[in-house]
Amino acid sequence: MFEIGGKKLKSRLFVGTGKLPDYSLIEKMYYEAGIEVFAVAVRRIGPNTKHTKNVLEYIPKGATIMVNTSGAQDHKEAVKIAMIGRELTDSDWVKVEIEKDTKYLFPDSFETLKACEILVKEGFKVFPYIYPDLNLAKELEQIGVEAVMPLGSPIGTNKGIGCEVLLKPIINEIKIPVIIDAGIGRPSHAAQAMEMGADAVLINTAIATSADPLKMAIAFAKAVEAGRLAFEVGLLKEYEYAQASSPLEDFISG
């Protein structure tokens, strides 16, 4: 059990819904993989049509909706999208995602900071998606965001934790939760993030575009749990050379 955004959660695996083949998977993930937080892109919350239903209809009552501002091009749009999202979902959790470009989908740090300042004042529980930048993370912490969400590697690339040396200082220095978002492609990557001390991970592409999203969500849930347990126990130090179980000194001195 851990606390984040004023809620107590059992699962440290958050899931994005944007790339899912079918929204009915959300309910299955909630019940079968124990996932409690679902990120929903406001840009895709359409009204019900004859052929497509609103994603919100598929999210179980007990689950938490994290409104995602993806598609916002600057802080003004992000704030507007967050407001629309809160109205539509009745959730004040907002993932601030403002992309600098559509080629790499890297977050725009300046605009993100500005949006977060406004949204915190507006009473949102703010979760900014950021570069693994310690200084930015510290500023955001001071502003009063609930957590920071640094990327592991660029969105959708499945490359895993590509910048451990930048993520580690954030995990060490920041007191609010750190959620590794973007780039995690395999359950082992998620376990690695948790072993490093991340508080949670957010996955979309790796689950949604797999051959069996539900099974993959279960695999990720287990990996996240395993990684967290290992972190709590404390990982053993790595050694450059083999350590004899009977140290050599015994023989020499003996």
């Binding site: 944007g18 790339k19 899912l20 083949p21 079918d22 929204y23 406001v42 840009r43 895709r44 919350i45 359409g46 009204p47 049509t49 004859k50 052929h51 497509t52 598609g71 916002a72 091009q73 749009e77 507007k80 999208i81 407001m83 629309i84 999202g85 992309e99 600098k100 470009d101 559509t102 080629k103 989908l105 959708g156 690339t157 499945n158 979309n204 592409t205 949604a208 575009t209």
Partner: protein, 372 residues
């Protein structure tokens, strides 16, 4: 602006007879994260089925990674077919003697209502090119009405001035589609003997003006068959790249409609086989992994369905290409701008997408971001 055209021209000339070996093709698609412009020019000459299938596999992977399992759907709404242009190949050409129509605002509402009943929630408003009969104000009002009905409204009208695009952006229009027809100036000039469309550069710069004015999306491409297809494809891909570099936050899409008969005598100088067409789309994906790829109802259902698995991100469904074709039954063959090959209803297209394990989606942008 036109520097990419010169670059495309030089690349095309340098590699037009270059046939890459199987090994070189594998090298390009397996080991490189991003293709170079030279790779792009070389791949356009690939001809073996095995190599194209290999490229398709990589294209499919890139599509799923970048776009997930989502196919965006839209439908066109032709609100007027008046046109001052003399394009020699077009069904809307002013040379063609048929009934010109323009929907009243009430009729536009009826059309939108009917579209909505069919389950359409994303629309592209189209007109011919005639600033008198389809004035900017007329288009603006039509778009304004459409934003009340649809989650997403785009336009495919004559090239506008930046200020006009800004006005449309402010009322909630998010996307522009503008086909250059051909990127080869000389051919363009011959194909467009008179009318405002004759201005090659004003058309070429239209997506740039729209994006500058606040549009989120631009869809571009040539009409394949009017000029050397490989060259036009190369130009279009570099055009998309140019727009991406200049407007990194915009979503750029590309489309390669093939020429279809439209009741004119015109016989296109080039025909593009299915194999070539598929190859072009795949290459666009390999070179620009995050660019949207659109396939219209000009293509037959089986081909469109096959492409859903590989590289398409957006497609039209339930399209009527006659003015007022949704609310009222019309003879699509006699009155349309071009022949529609895929006449399936929205439900039928949606069913195919779902059966393929993908999610059909009409909403790409939160409604009213600009107006809240």
């Amino acid at each position: 602006m036109v520097s990419f055209l010169k670059e495309a021209e030089e690349l095309f000339e340098e590699y037009k007879d270059y046939a890459p070996s199987h090994r070189e093709i594998c090298e390009i698609i397996e080991n490189k994260e991003f293709l170079t412009k030279e790779d792009l020019a070389k791949l356009l000459n690939v001809s073996s089925k095995e190599d194209i299938m290999l490229m398709a596999k990589k294209a499919q992977k890139l599509t799923r990674e970048n776009f997930g399992k989502v196919i965006l759907l839209y439908a066109p709404l032709y609100i007027a077919n008046y046109c001052q242009n003399g394009c020699v190949y077009c069904g809307f050409s002013s040379r063609k003697n048929y009934k010109r129509e323009k929907l009243s605002f009430e009729e536009i509402e009826n059309e939108l209502r009917k579209m909505k009943e069919e389950g359409i929630d994303s629309v592209i408003i189209l007109t011919g090119e005639d600033r008198i009969n389809s004035s900017f104000e007329y288009i603006e009002k039509a778009c304004s009405i459409a934003t009340n009905y649809m989650s997403e409204v785009s336009i495919e009208v004559y090239p506008l001035f930046e200020e006009e695009y800004r006005k449309l952006s402010n009322i909630g229009v998010v996307g522009i589609t503008v086909y250059q027809e051909t990127y080869q100036r000389e051919d363009y000039d011959k194909l467009h003997p008179f009318g405002p469309k004759k201005d090659f550069e004003f058309r070429l710069n239209a997506p740039e003006r729209a994006l500058k004015a606040g549009f989120h999306e631009a869809c571009i491409g040539p009409l394949l068959g009017l000029s050397e297809p490989k060259k036009d494809v190369l130009c279009a891909i570099l055009h998309a790249e140019y727009l991406l570099d200049k407007f990194p936050k915009a979503e750029i899409s590309i489309s390669f409609p093939r020429f279809r008969s439209a009741g004119t005598e015109f016989i296109p100088p080039y025909t593009v086989s299915d194999k070539e067409f598929i190859k072009f789309l795949i290459i666009a994906r390999l070179y620009l992994p995050r660019v949207g790829i659109v396939v219209s109802t000009r293509e037959r259902p089986s081909l469109r369905d096959a492409l859903i698995d590989v590289c398409i991100t957006k497609m039209s469904a339930g399209s009527k290409t006659t003015v007022g074709g949704y609310a009222e039954e019309k003879d699509e063959d006699a009155e349309a701008q071009f022949e529609v090959e895929d006449r399936r209803s929205v439900s039928e297209v949606v069913d195919v997408i779902i059966k393929k394990g993908l999610r059909p989606e009409f909403t790409n942008w939160v409604k009213g971001v600009k107006s809240v």
